[in-house]
């Protein structure tokens, strides 16, 4: 399945104090992409451009085969969107929202909607303004999921949810993917969630995509090598070393191009490799951003 649900090519957008530059993004149908970035990095702007809510200054955006923002109405018929700053109508009930959306979306599944309400512990007859934050997030997700969209676009879907609710939401998101024609893009601070369920991961920092790859490749490429140097030893120079930490005779090298051959290379250069640590996605992200910012200021 090689067609793309989402394709950004050379997308740029300028604001007074921030700009998005040269964004390339490819999201294959049937996969799930996690979008990680610090606050203000550009995740939300990118997502809004994807939805046609913000018009890019340059570059092309295609979503489900439609050109955005020109064709946004057609594209949005197949998209479920939930963002952190989105609010439902406080004066209305969840049931009202379901009734409002039902005639709009041809694939609306009312049975599934009620099932989700049960699983998410939501009462359809309750007014939105009476719901807690977590419940509102779940309500918005319910409304997005019940339309059986081909593409789910989520901006911070698990932020503000308690651990149990998070697990439920992750479960529902994965259930969406049981159908291999459906795709998910979600942005999150929660690197654990992203690490667990994403197929593809994209890092964004200060308006630029700094890395994008499939998750297993990320986890494979990045390692920390803990070395022990001999008394007059020098830190070995290796390709792909992104950061050197530690001190004195115990340097720690962080690399994004790990290969087993590196271990023997270190040994050949006189440094004993004491340990080769894998890195969590969070550590990878921080190291990536850190090294990039250092390079820019150097």
């Amino acid at each position: 399945m090689n067609d793309l649900s989402v394709q950004f090519e050379g997308v740029s957008k300028k604001y007074a104090h921030f700009s998005l530059e040269n964004i390339h993004l490819e999201l294959p149908t049937g996969s799930i992409m996690g979008f990680i970035g610090a606050n203000g990095a550009g995740k939300s702007t990118t997502i809004r451009i994807l939805m046609g809510l913000v018009h890019q200054d340059a570059g092309s955006v295609r979503v489900l085969g439609h050109s955005m923002p020109a064709d946004q109405a057609a594209a949005k018929l197949d998209i479920g969107f939930v963002s952190e700053d989105m609010r439902l109508y406080g004066a209305a009930t969840l049931a009202w929202h379901m009734d409002f959306l039902r005639p709009i979306y041809p694939r609306w599944d009312q049975t599934y909607a009620m099932e989700l309400a049960r699983r998410f512990d939501l009462k359809p007859q309750q007014k939105i303004k009476g719901l807690s934050h977590g419940q509102r997030v779940k309500a918005a997700l319910l409304l997005a999921l019940a339309r059986r969209p081909r593409l789910l676009v989520l901006d911070e879907p698990t932020t503000g949810l308690d651990p149990v609710a998070r697990m439920e939401v992750l479960g529902e998101l994965m259930a969406v993917l049981a159908d291999e024609d459906r795709t998910i893009l979600f942005s999150s601070h929660n690197t654990l969630d992203v690490e667990q369920i994403s197929d593809q991961i994209t890092f964004i920092d200060r308006g630029r995509i700094i890395d994008s790859d499939d998750k297993e490749a990320f986890l494979d490429r990045w390692r920390r090598l803990r070395l022990v140097l001999p008394p007059d030893g020098v830190v070995p120079r290796l390709p792909g070393v992104v950061e050197v930490g530690g001190s004195g005779r115990l340097p720690v090298l962080t690399t994004n191009r790990f290969e087993p051959a590196m271990v023997s290379a270190c040994n050949d250069l006189g440094a004993t490799v004491q340990a080769v640590d894998t890195m969590t996605l969070e550590e990878i992200f921080v190291a990536n951003v850190h090294s990039r910012r250092e390079r820019l200021t150097a």
Binding site: M174, L177, A178, Q196, S198, Q200, K215, E216, L219
Partner: protein, 135 residues
């Protein structure tokens, strides 16, 4: 059948390795018999709430090691020929022992001390089995 496999988040090893190990255990123990159907990649991904790409990798490795077979468009089954599975455990044992040797060396232990510690670990395992803590 799906909930048989349980992923531990605090386990430091990559997810795909955990999955592989659990599949191999089930096969080794006989829960999943040769020729039995196992969950499809997507089914397992949904059940475990783990990305498809991770399950795919685990299955690919398992197939390479001869533990399972994937049939085009028909899902996966436990490989009818399981003669390779003890081999895999031997490989893993060798790797682990190398690591034990390295750690012992780091701590400045002698070979005898390392061997003694290994035996202690084995004794603990047998004791636990006797008190029915594990099957």
């Amino acid at each position: 059948m799906h909930s048989d496999i349980v992923i531990s988040q605090s386990d430091g090893r990559p997810m795909y390795l955990q999955i592989m190990e659990q599949v191999k255990q089930r096969v080794a123990v006989g829960d999943w018999a040769p020729g039995d159907e196992i969950p499809s990649i997507r089914q397992l991904a949904v059940a475990l709430r783990v990305s498809v790409i991770t399950i795919k990798r685990a299955y690919l490795e398992l197939e390479r090691e001869g533990v399972i077979l994937t049939q085009q468009g028909k899902g996966s089954i436990v490989a009818p020929n399981q003669r390779l599975s003890p081999q895999i455990y031997h490989e893993e044992l060798s790797e682990r022992l190398d690591e034990v040797a390295r750690l012992g060396d780091l701590l400045g232990l002698s070979s005898e001390e390392i061997a003694r510690r290994t035996k202690e670990a084995s004794d603990r395992l047998n004791e636990a089995r006797l008190t029915k803590e594990i099957v």
